[in-house]
């Protein structure tokens, strides 16, 4: 059971899955790190993006990797608008209200999708979905390899953005010290909205990367998002590096436990890990104090 011929592909597959998990978690941790809110609507937004990618292919014939370009821009705008015009104003700045508003959004979006598209599960069939690349003893599916590469590139791009651009620096300033940033002339509401938009953008990109190999239905996003929450909590709320590393870790753990324990128990395992981390180590391995 422990032979490298089985382990290595499992680990590699875990890394590739984990990369996409990490991307979703990245969006979540970015939003938490800057706005200090837990975005309960993240899963619903992922589902919405998956539907968008699905219909971009079905109706417009757009390959998901191409659709990623307009969709990321679209969802950035959506995220920006949601924070700027809904979440921000509705919650009057109170934590308890933000909780409820993001929950309300989650319920709204998810059920709007349910109402519009019904509950059936859909998949798309790409001609190259089953192509494989051979790496040693492992046969890796092409879409997943592409996904892994894209996530790494995206993470790098985000890091560079945060480091070198003015907006990126403003975001980091607001995350560290909101009042000081405000006094320095930074438009905090705008930065909050930009950050939320970036988080939503990550989710849109992840949707495009997932759709070649995954199915979509109105609750698809939730499955990923609980995993994303686990990753964010493990890697530390607000830590980008933590989200990445923890994401890859969780992907591998899921792959290996799926190998030995089967799917349902694997799912419970992730939740249990999530609860345990929340209870005993909420600041995670890399993050700020809870």
């Amino acid at each position: 059971m422990l032979s490298p011929a089985i382990l290595v592909p499992a680990v590699l597959n875990g890394l590739m899955t984990g990369a996409v998990y990490a991307l979703i978690a990245l969006g979540l941790t970015l939003i938490y790190g800057v706005l200090h809110i837990i975005n309960f609507a993240h899963g619903a937004l992922l589902t919405a993006a998956m539907f968008a990618a699905f219909y971009a292919y079905k109706v417009l014939g757009l390959d998901p990797y191409l659709a990623a370009v307009p969709l990321t821009v679209l969802f950035f705008g959506l995220g920006y608008a949601l924070q700027r015009f809904v979440i921000g104003p509705a919650s009057h700045g109170e934590d308890r209200n933000i909780l409820l508003v993001t929950l309300g959004l989650a319920v709204l979006i998810e059920n709007a999708l349910l109402f519009t598209f019904r509950a059936d599960t859909r998949t798309i069939n790409l001609p190259y979905a089953f192509d494989v690349i051979e790496v040693g003893t492992a046969f890796l599916a092409v879409p997943r390899v592409i996904a892994f590469a894209v996530v790494i590139v995206m993470a790098l791009a985000l890091w560079l953005f945060m480091r070198w651009t003015d907006t990126g620096k403003a975001i980091r300033a607001v995350a560290k010290e909101k009042l000081g940033a405000e006094l320095s002339g930074i438009d905090v509401n705008h930065i909050y909205a930009v950050t939320f938009g970036l988080g939503t953008m990550c989710v849109a990109l992840a949707a495009c990367l997932l759709i070649p190999t995954y199915y979509v239905n109105p609750t698809a996003g939730n499955a990923f998002v609980l995993i994303a929450f686990t990753i964010v909590v493990l890697g530390g709320m607000g830590s980008v590096a933590g989200a990445l590393i923890a994401g890859l870790f969780v992907g591998v753990v899921e792959s290996l436990s799926g190998l030995y324990l089967g799917e349902s128990l694997g799912q419970i395992g992730i939740f249990v890990m999530f609860i345990l981390v929340l209870l005993f180590c909420p600041s995670g391995l890399f993050g700020e104090r809870a």
Binding site: I38, A90, L99, V107, A112, F229
Partner: protein, 327 residues
């Protein structure tokens, strides 16, 4: 005794309904609304009075429902006894989750997250465990005898759920006027200040959570008896967690009658949407999501808050008018 007068009036009015109408539509609507109100009462104690927002009250509702059902179906336990045990089981789950969460100092979003996670874990377990019938669900055998807590007509069910709601109103009222209730509200307003004044906040929260879970579990037990069918998505699904918090928030968070008012409002809204747009799944929850956001944005104290504002406006207007010189 005066404190209980409003409760007596409200319950009395509701009790009169079956005497006025025999319409199954009305009765069924009210039974479902009262059921939501009951679970909302539970949520409101912990969330409204205590300020700890749970996103997973399904965990208690579903436990009450499943325990009642399984005890009857698999172990032949009497329905009434099963009901009581179901409430106890739900309360125990509440104490368990509360003990873990509060001792770890979880609050705010983290507490909401962990309750969400627990409810989800229970849902997944219920969807695969053989004892709950896994994907097929659990069916309570039709046995229309009072001893089996099943009735031919809806009216006895109505009395029972009304009775449960009445009890919950009394419990909340009594707590509100007690030291425990004062401590609960204090820790909601400022936990550190409460601690400095001698409040064992962890214990108070735990107490509130246990009672809250028991009330929600009672709702679950009733659901099982009324609808006679459960599956993981019904018992532990997000729908009940959302209704549990929506009713009190819409009606007036942290008030005795909030959940009842709110439940009537959202259930009426649900029925109206069905009238307008048909039975398509998901539409009612879409409306609920919108309502939640709108209430938080514009009327954070719910209907009760709006009524209070209206009363104050009215009083100000009256006093202004009485000051005007009479010509």
């Amino acid at each position: 005794m005066r404190a209980f007068a409003p409760i007596a009036v409200a319950v009395g009015l509701l009790a009169a309904v079956p005497l006025i109408t025999a319409s199954n539509v009305v009765l069924n609507f009210l039974v479902v609304a009262l059921l939501t109100a009951l679970v909302g009462q539970g949520w409101n104690l912990l969330g409204g009075y205590g300020g700890q927002y749970s996103f997973g009250h399904a965990a208690f509702f579903g436990t009450g429902a499943y325990v009642t059902a399984i005890l009857q179906v698999r172990y032949g336990v009497n329905a009434w006894l099963g009901f009581v045990i179901g409430i106890a089981a739900g309360a125990a789950v509440g104490t368990f989750i509360g003990a873990l969460s509060f001792r770890s100092g979880l609050k705010g979003s983290y507490f909401a997250l962990v309750t969400l996670a627990f409810a989800e874990v229970l849902r997944i377990i219920a969807s695969v465990a053989p004892i709950t019938g896994a994907g097929v669900g659990t069916l309570i055998k039709l046995d229309l005898r009072p001893e089996a807590l099943q009735f031919q007509s809806r009216v006895p069910f109505y009395w029972i759920i009304l009775g449960l709601v009445a009890v919950s109103l009394l419990i909340i009222r009594i707590i509100q006027d007690s030291r425990f209730g004062a401590y609960l509200v204090a820790l909601r307003e400022n936990e550190d200040a409460a601690k400095a004044l001698g409040v064992n906040t962890t214990l108070v929260k735990l107490g509130a959570m246990t009672v809250s879970a028991a009330i929600a579990a009672a709702g679950g037990c009733f659901y099982a008896q009324y609808f006679l069918f459960l599956d993981a998505g019904i018992a532990y699904g997000p729908w009940i967690s959302i209704e549990a918090l929506l009713a009190p928030i819409v009606g007036g968070i942290g008030t005795v009658f909030g959940p009842l008012i709110g439940s009537l409002v959202i259930k009426t809204l649900g029925e109206l949407t069905k009238l307008v747009a048909g039975d398509a799944p998901g539409l009612d929850l879409v409306i609920y999501g919108c309502v939640l956001i709108l209430i938080v944005a514009f009327a954070p104290n719910g209907v009760a808050g709006l009524l209070l504002k209206a009363r104050r406006c009215f009083a100000v207007l009256k006093s202004l008018r009485s000051e005007q010189p009479h010509g």
